[in-house]
Amino acid sequence: MNFLKAVQQILINSTYIRGDDEAPDDFDSLQYPAAIRISRNAVKYQITRLIANHLIPYEFRVGEIVTRDGTGNPEAARTYDLPSDFVRFFGKSPFLQNDFNLQIFEFDDDDLRLSNNRSNVDIGQPYAWYIERDVEKKIGLVAIPNEIKRWTFQYEAEVQVSNENDTLPFQSEQEAEQFVDLCTEHFKIIDAGGRLSDIETDIGIKSARSILVDLMRYTNKPRRYGNAYRSVAV
């Protein structure tokens, strides 16, 4: 399900669209500008809320950097850009050099040593990485690479939606639909004149979100002792 479809579904669930109404074809529709705006905000808010609390499968990505040969010009091979959807690395040792089955770790977070290494022009096989402070997300390698090699890494990606065709970050349609139900609850509160602070205390929101999280779990763990033995209806 994409972002537009989710907004359409919210408008249908909240009975904005009924009878022989047509759902808006895009976010620029002049028929429901306010409702569309509230719906879009509901979707984005709830995605943010969800990924802030949980790791959802859609966040996992594998990226890669290809090192450059710093021989003769070390500075040109010191730092490497990360993907535009990069949020943070997954795990403590994300980088893997496949040829050597080599992993490297983040350089010890000691500013003094780090600054020393930033000025280090040692060239050779990288044995650590560090976060390069810059306006864009990038890393630096120690030592500076002396050959072209492909390194892969796992990271958590940005999964927020913004464009109409962006896919909601859920693995199944059922999860996506439940997410839309959650957003519909959000929509109704705001549409009725409520505030954002009302969202987190609303029982409908809590219920919809817990169902969604349940759906996203890979295992069906009992949530309380003896639950399954008392009643199948619980």
């Binding site: 904005y16 669209i17 009924r18 009878g19 022989d20 109404d21 047509e22 002049l30 028929q31 429901y32 500008p33 306010a34 409702a35 569309i36 705006r37 509230i38 705001i190 549409d191 009725a192 004149g193 409520g194």
Partner: protein, 522 residues
């Protein structure tokens, strides 16, 4: 809150305006028992004179055999017009430039007598085949001109005349009994001159008592009523030449214009100095009081108007006041119709959408408007001339104003929204007559925001069965034949941006054909 459209334009303070009136708007219709919004009829261009000179007269003769002939006067030329594209000049440059000819029927001899509001062309007659100057038999006078002519009590009466170069705007001529070719400017009616030698059936003249210019004549309720410019109303009393006279009817009419006074069926309407429009019955009952002006609902629109051409559309029960760039439309059947807050305004305004208009932007500015029989038919309509020699039908049936979009707009009064909400939502009930877009503007109080939505309205359902092939409801089932096309009720929602404690709602459409919006729920 439910917004309907029962009332017309009410330009008084918003606190006294009823919810289903509007504070401004144009090109919508009203009707007794109607609460929906629909557009005025389109204006059809019926024909254009060969010389493309402004139409200043539309003259029609209907003979006893129920056939009619119609003349279009364009500058100096008079054309026999078939109601479409056929124009045949009658005479040669018969009219003097600037004439505003008007017709009155003389059925005894089956011709029309043609006067001229501007008194530039002598009194004339048209018998269906020949256009000639009307004989008058006045000794010493070659050309007799009259601004107004009317048939009453077996005579032709002329008002506001000119005898050759002698201007006599206060004089009334009455023809010989059943002989409209004999007038007399030398013999005064006995009622005004006891020494006069006229006998009962003789032609005679009278003067209007206040000696002002006569600026209107109307027959109403078996009475002949005349108006003097910024003066009084008088009515004719008497039975023959020995006792006919004009006596005061209403002393402070202050009527302005030259064609603003008209019989509107059960009453007489006229425009006063300052632009107010009055009804004679109200004046008789209440005197000169503002609260009885029929134009009291549209004070702003009539303010300082100087003139109008007033035409009564008997078939559709409307009175049209052609003023500069628009028509003020008075819906007679709305008189007395009211909601909980009193009487609804019976007024709409017709305008043209200049931006989309065809090349001849007439804007309802016309020199002639008449209620006549549509040539070649037995149906009546209001025809008017345009600046380019055209004649247009106010009750048209084609698409738009000769193909141009008709913009329809209403602005509601201010509605309280109560608690300030994050958004306003609404739903429209309409008929699936026309596929078009409805724009609704929301003028919010306090936030001073003006936002809008564009709501698509669907057109008629396709022919045949709505639930048909491959559906649960199929042929031979209960749900089969559709209701009448174009009457299908549909609803559609909308959700505008912005919010406030109160809002005015402006509905706007530009259409070529009829539509119907029943109500808007907010």
């Amino acid at each position: 809150m439910k917004l309907t459209f029962s009332g017309g334009i009410n330009e008084n303070d918003e606190t006294v305006i009823q919810p289903d009136e509007c504070i401004s708007g144009f090109n919508f219709e009203l009707g007794f028992g109607d609460s929906h919004k629909s557009p005025r009829p389109p204006v059809d261009l019926k024909g254009i004179a060969p010389n493309s000179v402004e139409t200043t007269g539309i003259l029609q003769l209907v003979r006893r055999d129920d056939t009619e002939t119609t003349l279009s006067v364009n500058g100096a030329k008079a054309y026999l017009w078939d109601g479409s594209s056929s124009y045949t000049e009658q005479g040669t440059d018969f009219f003097n430039a600037g004439s505003l000819p008007r017709a009155v029927s003389w059925d005894l001899d089956q011709y029309i007598v043609i006067s001229d509001l501007n008194k530039l062309t002598p009194l004339s007659q048209w018998d269906g085949t020949t256009l000639i100057t009307q004989p008058h038999n006045i000794s010493g006078v070659t050309d007799l001109y009259a601004s107004y002519a009317i048939e009453h009590l077996n005579r032709i009466w002329l008002f506001n005349i000119r005898a050759d170069t002698s201007e006599l705007p206060h004089v009334i001529l009455a023809s010989d009994f059943e002989t409209p070719t004999i007038f007399n400017t030398g013999a005064r009616g006995t009622a005004q001159d006891p020494n006069s030698v006229v006998t009962e059936n003789d032609a005679f003249f009278l003067t209007v008592p206040d000696l002002r210019w006569i600026n209107g004549v109307v027959l109403f309720n078996k009475q002949l009523v005349i108006s003097t410019r910024l003066g009084r109303l008088y009515k004719l009393v008497g039975t023959d030449s020995t006792n006919f006279n004009f006596v005061d009817y209403y002393a402070a009419s202050d009527a302005t214009g030259v064609e603003s006074i008209a019989n509107i069926g059960n009453d007489v309407a006229y425009m006063k100095r300052g632009g107010n429009i009055e009804r004679l019955s109200d004046t008789q009952r209440s005197g000169d009081v503002d609260t009885d002006d029929i134009s009291r609902f549209i004070k702003t629109s009539v303010k300082n108007l100087q003139d109008s051409i007033t035409v009564y559309d008997q078939k559709n029960q409307k009175v049209f006041f052609f003023v500069k760039d628009k028509i003020l439309v008075f819906f007679k059947d709305m008189i007395g119709r009211g909601g909980e807050g009193g009487q609804y305004s019976p007024w709409s305004i017709y305008e043209t959408d200049s931006a989309n208009l065809d090349a001849s932007a007439f804007n309802f500015n016309t020199k002639v408007a008449v209620y006549i029989r549509i040539p070649g038919t037995k149906i009546y309509s209001v025809y008017f001339g345009d600046p380019d020699g055209g004649i247009r039908d106010l009750n048209g049936i084609l698409d738009g104003d000769n193909g141009a979009l008709i913009r329809v707009e209403r602005t509601s009064r201010l509605f309280e929204l109560g608690k300030k909400k994050n958004s306003v939502t609404g739903r429209i009930q309409y008929r699936r007559k026309l596929k078009t877009d409805l724009s609704i503007f929301f003028d919010y109080a306090e936030t001073y925001g003006l936002t809008n939505v564009v709501v698509p309205l669907k057109g008629p359902t396709s022919g045949g069965d709505y639930y048909n092939t491959d559906s649960f409801y199929n042929a031979d089932n209960y749900y089969n034949t559709r209701v009448l096309g174009g009457e299908d009720i549909a609803t559609v929602g909308f959700s505008p941006s912005g919010s406030g404690t109160a809002v005015r709602i402006i509905t706007q459409l530009s259409v070529l054909n009829d539509f119907q919006i029943d109500q808007i729920d907010l």
